[in-house]
Amino acid sequence: MAKHVVSTVAEIPPGSRKLLEVAGRSIGVFNLGGEFFAIRNRCPHQGAALCTGQLGSAVTSPGPGRYDVHREGEILRCPWHGWEYDVRTGQSWFDPKGVRVKAYETVVAPGSSLVPPAPGLEPGPYVAETYPVSVEENYVLVEV
């Protein structure tokens, strides 16, 4: 496993997402209110490109006729059959223990920590072959 630089922070503003290939996998990186999350772009049901689906709210209800809406923008609906996934954890809404999509550790790191050899800092582990890194920016890293 290695941390891969996938984006600058600025490229994925809050509420948006980026789809990319990392280590041969299609992954979606999401910015939820300044926090970054990455999940596999493949629904475990029939293989749809999950991360292209609509982002919506969690809808719960204590009883008929009541619709409690929360966590707006954090629930991803598969573009095909509408299965809902919690972007933060990759768990499906209808069966959180049994059905989930792979979620990847995601961190933000300043460019200065990624450009070797910074004085007094150890480089890596990170992979940035396809992503140019500069000390002025902050970057999103996904561990795959």
Binding site: V59, T60, S61, P62, G63, P64, G65, R66, Y67, D68, C78, H81, G82, W83, E84, W93, F94, D95
Partner: protein, 353 residues
């Protein structure tokens, strides 16, 4: 006379009104006069044309004439007195009250039917229990009738015809389930009913066979509606009985309903578990008709696919005849424990017998 067999409970036996005359002692004065002077006969439509082999098994018609299953003596002779000698029989009087568009007529006739059931049946044989007949097309009046009967120990269930103008899970009908739940009464949807609208989404079939075989679609509509509407979420103790509708169709419906729920559940967010889990917990089905295939192993596999051993309720459906027999090979292949539940265990738990 053979003693009642405590391991057998018959969950669907018909109590047939011979004519409106039998209700006269129980109707209020106004309605007695209506019957005597206007030609009002109460509900006249029946789902069971008297001449058909399915409507009355051989030997069930009373010697003196009149419809089969119209007196307690006939039930004592042919159901309680015959193998398998059930310890209890649940009477369903599916007189088509829903055809009466006058709400007060519907209410009066339903009330009189229940009085008649009480006087002419329940009080004459302690092995009998009965479903409460209600004016189902008027939910408020149905609630009143349930409140009137619920405390009589012989009434163990609320009866609804499976055919209706609107799905029973709809909001308008909720008070009826609330009343049944309040009194710990299961609600039974029974084959038949004469609501006036066609029994299919595509109009009126030509043949009796079509409506008879196709009735399973109507059972499905209500089951889906009741779960989707959150009736069981509102009333966790409520039980639903599907009577005389068969059961082999249920697994296919559950597969589809569960699959759809996974993606569409946001539309009914109060349904927090897969629909099949609600069905295992809340729904029971009688075993007549069996709708058995040539190969009994296939029906046994349908029984296994139901997903729960608590769901089936043995019934003779007297006096109707579906070509099933009590010695159908499907029963042989079932485990002793499952058979015991089907023959009485599930009914005892459901009706607290």
């Amino acid at each position: 006379m053979d003693a009642p067999n405590p391991t057998v409970i018959d969950c669907d036996v018909h109590a047939v009104l011979p004519s409106i005359g039998a209700l006269l002692p129980f109707l209020p004065a106004y309605w007695r006069e209506q019957v005597e002077q206007t030609g009002f006969k109460g509900p006249v439509d029946t789902w069971y044309p008297p001449g058909l082999p399915t409507s009355a098994r051989p030997g069930s018609a009373p010697a003196g004439g009149g419809p089969a299953a119209s007196t307690v003596e006939l039930i004592q002779r042919d159901v309680l007195g015959e193998a398998p000698h059930p310890a209890f029989a649940i009477l369903n009087c599916d007189c088509a009250v829903e055809t009466l568009h006058n709400p007060d007529a519907a209410s009066a006739v339903a009330g009189a039917l229940n009085e008649w059931i009480s006087a002419a049946w329940l009080s004459r044989d302690k092995r009998l229990r009965a479903s409460i007949v209600v004016p189902s097309q008027f939910p408020e009046l149905a609630v009143r009738e349930i409140e009137r009967r619920a405390r009589e120990p012989g009434f163990v269930q609320v009866l609804l015809p499976v055919r209706s103008e609107a799905p029973y899970g709809s909001l308008n009908f909720r008070p009826v389930f609330a009343a049944a739940a309040r009194h710990g009464l299961p609600v039974a949807l029974h084959f038949g009913g004469v609501p006036g609208n066609p029994p299919t989404p595509v109009g009126w079939p030509s043949f009796y066979l079509e409506e008879y075989a196709g009735m399973t679609g109507v059972f499905q509509t209500h089951l889906i509606s009741i779960i989707a509407g959150g009736v069981f979420d509102e009333h966790p103790q409520l039980r639903l009985v599907l009577a005389e509708g068969g059961f082999a169709w249920l697994p296919a419906m559950l597969w589809r309903f569960d699959k759809n729920w996974k993606g569409l559940r946001r539309e009914i967010p109060w349904v927090r578990r897969p629909p099949s889990e609600y069905v295992w917990e809340h729904v029971r089905l009688t075993t007549a008709p069996l709708d058995a295939p040539e190969d009994p192993a296939q029906l046994r596999s349908a029984i296994a696919q139901l997903g729960s051993e608590d769901m089936l309720l043995y019934a003779s459906d007297y006096p109707h005849a579906h070509g099933d027999s009590a010695s159908d090979p499907v029963w042989e292949g079932l485990s002793g424990a499952l058979k015991a539940k089907i023959m009485s265990g599930n009914a005892r738990a459901l009706y607290r017998l």
